[in-house]
Subunit: 230 residues, 2 copies
């Protein structure tokens, strides 16, 4: 019997690395997919490649798409990435680092990749607790995408069922880290910073850095990545 | 009052040109969106640009995305485009020219473009009658995408409602052409062929050419584009 296959969205960050480990632990042969989308923090792609290799993904594809043509987000446009001193200071509402329709675009490509690879499962490392400000990280969004996906493809017409897996959805950052450490994820191969220094050191003060550092603290583990601020 | 804005997917073909004319007729300021996706028939993009200009679109964006990285379709991979003598010979089922998840990918980018442009309407020239073999041209698919889109975006969180318009959905090819001619569409600026000759002449025998030619015949109009076969 051929192995069951999954497409795993892999950004090179902590969440997607943990998601890849979970897909492997559940017995999937994984086909990892990353995007060069004009992000400030394109250095994460180098880590995505290292992760895919170290963790034994069957294939890793990096797609170039140009989200900068639209603008509208601090991650892709000339808008400053907000900085804080502590994770508790991160505001409510939709943050300026929100990229319009990003998860929808990423999942749509994952859907094409799944269809061509004869995979029926797509894994995405979204998390509703720490990023509740992003509309496309909510469970009702993911359920709706899955429903649409099953109408969009051959599988929907000829039988078969596509599933969207978001195994981190209800976990806190420290639970994600504990889960990943138990599965042997090497977090030195991940990067989370939205605004890294030229030498690759994480800024330590963007939302992604603050949530990550607090997560490691709460998990009682040491974050192995280098930071600008100690 | 500012004009109501719509994003219009514009391939350079007959259907999307007619759709653009309909959006204008309904009073929208249009923001046209085309894709360079590794299609054999990339010459259509030149016509998309001419159409956007001739028809008075406010803006025209061409996004490069690489669907060839996945393969799996005669439109993007090294699979021969099927040829027939007559439109009636076109087979049932999903044709090999189906590009996995293409409309989902295109609509996802349209969604991002709409969100950044403060547009609440997206027009797509899909047609369920002549292309019933494509799963992502069915009305239930479009309704499901609209539902997902309203959960994916700021509009879904903060109020507002995104609508997907598919004004050609139930029209035959000849009805589309009659509608377009009535609205003044210059069909000499459109191309439909999946497999044009190097000089740009349409092959006349791929599914797209056969359906187009039959449509013009049934509409009692002359197709102004050059064909290899008379």
């Amino acid at each position: 019997m051929p192995p069951k296959r999954a497409v795993v969205l892999l950004s090179g960050g902590l969440d997607s690395a943990t998601t890849l480990a979970i897909a492997h632990a559940e017995g999937y042969e994984t086909h990892a997919l990353s995007f060069r989308y004009g992000q400030r923090h394109a250095g994460e792609l180098e880590f995505a490649a290292k992760l895919a290799k170290a963790m034994g993904a069957e294939r890793h594809v990096v797609l170039a798409i140009d989200l900068r043509a639209f603008g509208g987000s601090a991650l892709t446009a000339e808008i400053a990435v907000p900085k804080h001193e502590r994770a508790e200071e991160i505001g409510g509402g939709i943050p300026v680092t929100y990229v319009p329709a990003r998860n929808t675009i990423f999942l749509s490509f994952a859907l094409a990749f799944a269809e061509v690879s004869a995979a029926e499962d797509i894994f995405i490392g979204v998390n509703a607790l720490d990023y509740s400000g992003y509309p496309d990280c909510r469970p009702e969004y993911l359920a709706s995408f899955e429903q649409m996906a099953n109408l969009a493809t051959r599988a929907g017409v000829e039988g078969g069922h596509l599933r969207i897996h978001a195994p981190l959805l209800d976990l806190t950052k420290s639970e994600i880290i504990q889960r990943g450490l138990a599965l042997g994820v090497d977090y030195s191969l991940t990067r989370s910073c939205y605004d890294p220094r030229a030498d690759g050191a994480s800024c330590g003060r963007c939302d992604a850095c603050l949530l990550r550092r607090r997560g490691f603290e709460q998990a009682g583990a040491k974050d192995p990545v280098p930071y600008v601020t100690p």
